[in-house]
C-alpha cells in the first residue's frame, strides 16, 4: 500500500489518504502501516529484527490475556482460601 508518513511533536503519523497528509509527509510503499517506524531521527521501515521483537511482544500479551481469562475462574477460590487461612479457619 501507498502510505504517507510524517512526524509531529516527536510522534509518527501515517495515513493512506493523501488528502490527510500534510505537505511535509513522505510517501512510502509498504505492506502495512505497522512496518513504519520513527526512531527519533528519521522515518524508516522496520528491520526484520524489530518486526520479530514486536511480534513476540504481541504474542506474549495475547498469552498473558489468555492465561488471565483461565485463572480468573479460579481466583475466587484462591482468594477465599487465603481469607480462610488468615481467619484461622482451617476446617474443610
Amino acid at each position: 500500500m501507498r502510505l504517507y508518513a510524517w512526524v509531529e511533536n516527536g510522534l509518527l503519523f501515517t495515513t493512506e489518504d493523501k488528502n490527510l497528509a500534510p505537505a511535509n509527509a513522505i510517501e512510502l510503499e509498504v505492506a502495512s502501516f505497522d512496518d513504519v517506524i520513527y526512531d527519533g531521527t528519521q522515518i524508516r521501515l522496520k528491520t526484520e529484527e524489530e518486526k520479530l521483537t514486536e511480534e513476540k511482544q504481541k504474542k506474549l500479551e495475547e498469552l498473558k490475556r489468555y492465561v488471565a481469562t483461565l485463572l480468573s475462574q479460579t481466583d475466587y477460590v484462591i482468594t477465599k482460601l487465603a481469607e480462610a487461612e488468615a481467619l484461622g479457619d482451617t476446617e474443610t
Binding site: 510522534l11 509518527l12 503519523f13 495515513t15 490527510l20 500534510p22 490475556r65 475466587y76
Partner: protein, 371 residues
C-alpha cells in the same frame, strides 16, 4: 409562504386565471373567474412527482371537462379563428374561451425560515450531492454541492435553510477553525489545511455515504453543538472535529475484539494508550497498554461477539477519553477505562473505528458534539 412564485398567464380569454404551485401539498391550484357570470372557481391537481426548485410547469386546463394536462415541457400551439390548436404535449383543439394555458415558474426564496436551528428536527439523513435525492423522506437534508445550499424535505418540497447563521455562532468559527470560503463551509485544526465539511439539519444526522468507497470520503458533516451523528453498519465517524471539542456517545458492535477505539481523522497515530479497571462478579483486575495506532476506548471482549461501550472524550491537543463498557470476558465482565492519543495537527474529523487488525463496522452508534 416559503416559496416565491411567478405566474405568467400565457393564454386566457374570457376567464381570468391564476395558477399556483402549492409546495406544502405538492399540487397545482387553479383559480379562474368567468367575467360573464362573475363566478370564481377553484380546481386542484395533485402532482405525481415532487417539483424541483427552479423548474417550470405548464398547465393546459380544459374548462369543459375540467381536466388538467400538466407538463414540464412548454406546449406548442397556434391560435387561429378563435381556436387553439395544440400539437404538444397533447394533440387537441379547443375553442379559445374553453381552455387555459398557463406557465408556473418557481424558485428558491431568499427568505429563510426565521429562528430555525438544526436541532428543530429530530432525525435527518444527509445527502451530499449535486442533484436532489429521488426518494426523500420527511426531514431529509440535501446539501447541493453545485450551489452550496442546504435544503430539508418538508414532505412535499425541498426547503432552503440558511446554514451560515448557526455556523457563525460556533466557538470553532470564533476561534478561526471554521470559515465560509467561496460559499463553502471549511474546517481546519492547524489553520493551514482546510477541508470542506457539510452542514445538516437534525438533532441526529445520518450521512448517506458508502464507507467502502473512497470517493465518498469527503462526505463529512459539520455538527453544531448538540447535534449527533448516527452510524449503522459503518466505521467512518463522519463528523468534523477539531481542537477543542467534547464528545459523548454509545455504540454496539459484534466483532470479537480486544482493545478498540478510533483513528483520529482516519490517521494512524503511534501513542495510543489505555488504563483498564475491570471486574467480574467475583474479582477486580487492572491493566495498562501503550503503543496503539488509534485512540483506544475500551478493552472489548475477545470471547463473545458482543461489545458495547459508553464513552466521552475531549480533544485538546490530545484526545482524552473515558469509557465504561463490556470488557474481556469468559465470565460477565465490565470495566472502566481511561485512554488517550494524539489528534493530528491537520486532523479534521472524528475518525475511523478500528482495532489492531481491522476496521470495526459498528452495528449502531450515536456520537454527540457536546461542546
Amino acid at each position: 409562504m416559503d416559496l416565491l412564485q411567478k405566474d405568467v398567464p400565457i393564454l386566457t380569454k374570457i376567464y381570468k386565471a391564476k395558477c399556483f404551485y402549492d409546495s406544502q401539498n405538492n399540487r397545482i391550484i387553479l383559480y379562474y373567474k368567468n367575467h360573464v357570470t362573475a363566478q370564481t372557481l377553484v380546481d386542484f391537481y395533485n402532482l405525481p412527482i415532487t417539483l424541483s426548485p427552479s423548474s417550470f410547469l405548464y398547465v393546459i386546463y380544459d374548462l369543459r371537462t375540467r381536466v388538467f394536462n400538466v407538463s414540464t415541457e412548454p406546449p406548442i400551439y397556434t391560435v387561429s379563428n378563435s381556436k387553439v390548436y395544440i400539437t404538444s404535449p397533447i394533440n387537441a383543439v379547443y375553442d379559445m374561451d374553453k381552455v387555459i394555458i398557463y406557465r408556473i415558474s418557481w424558485y428558491e426564496t431568499d427568505t429563510d425560515i426565521p429562528i430555525f436551528t438544526p436541532l428543530s428536527v429530530p432525525y435527518s439523513r444527509l445527502y451530499i450531492q449535486s442533484s436532489a435525492p429521488t426518494s426523500p423522506q420527511l426531514y431529509d437534508s440535501w446539501y447541493n454541492t453545485d450551489t452550496n445550499k442546504l435544503f430539508y424535505f418538508n414532505g412535499s418540497a425541498w426547503i432552503k435553510v440558511d446554514w451560515t447563521k448557526w455556523v457563525q455562532n460556533d466557538i470553532w468559527y470564533q476561534l478561526g477553525k471554521l470559515r465560509i470560503n467561496n460559499g463553502q463551509l471549511q474546517v481546519s485544526n492547524n489553520g493551514t489545511n482546510w477541508y470542506q465539511v457539510f452542514p445538516a439539519i437534525g438533532r441526529t444526522v445520518e450521512v448517506i455515504a458508502d464507507d467502502t468507497n473512497s470517493a465518498d470520503n469527503f462526505k463529512i458533516v459539520y455538527l453544531t453543538i448538540g447535534q449527533a451523528l448516527l452510524l449503522r453498519n459503518k466505521y467512518r465517524i463522519r463528523c468534523a472535529c477539531v481542537n477543542p471539542s467534547i464528545w459523548s456517545g454509545m455504540l454496539k458492535h459484534s466483532l470479537n475484539s480486544w482493545i478498540y477505539g478510533f483513528k483520529p481523522s482516519g490517521v494512524n497515530i503511534s501513542d495510543g494508550a489505555i488504563q483498564i479497571l475491570r471486574a467480574t462478579n467475583i474479582e477486580l483486575g487492572c491493566a495498562g497498554y501503550t503503543g496503539f495506532s488509534f485512540v483506544p476506548l475500551i478493552e472489548g471482549t475477545t470471547v463473545e461477539a458482543d461489545n458495547w461501550v459508553e464513552f466521552n472524550f475531549i480533544v485538546l491537543s490530545q484526545v482524552y477519553s473515558s469509557a465504561t463498557g463490556r470488557a474481556i470476558s469468559t465470565w460477565p465482565t465490565g470495566g472502566v477505562f481511561t485512554a488517550r492519543g494524539s489528534f493530528p495537527g491537520n486532523g479534521y474529523f472524528v475518525g475511523t473505528m478500528t482495532n489492531r487488525i481491522a476496521n470495526i463496522f459498528v452495528d449502531y452508534m450515536v456520537i454527540t458534539r457536546q461542546g
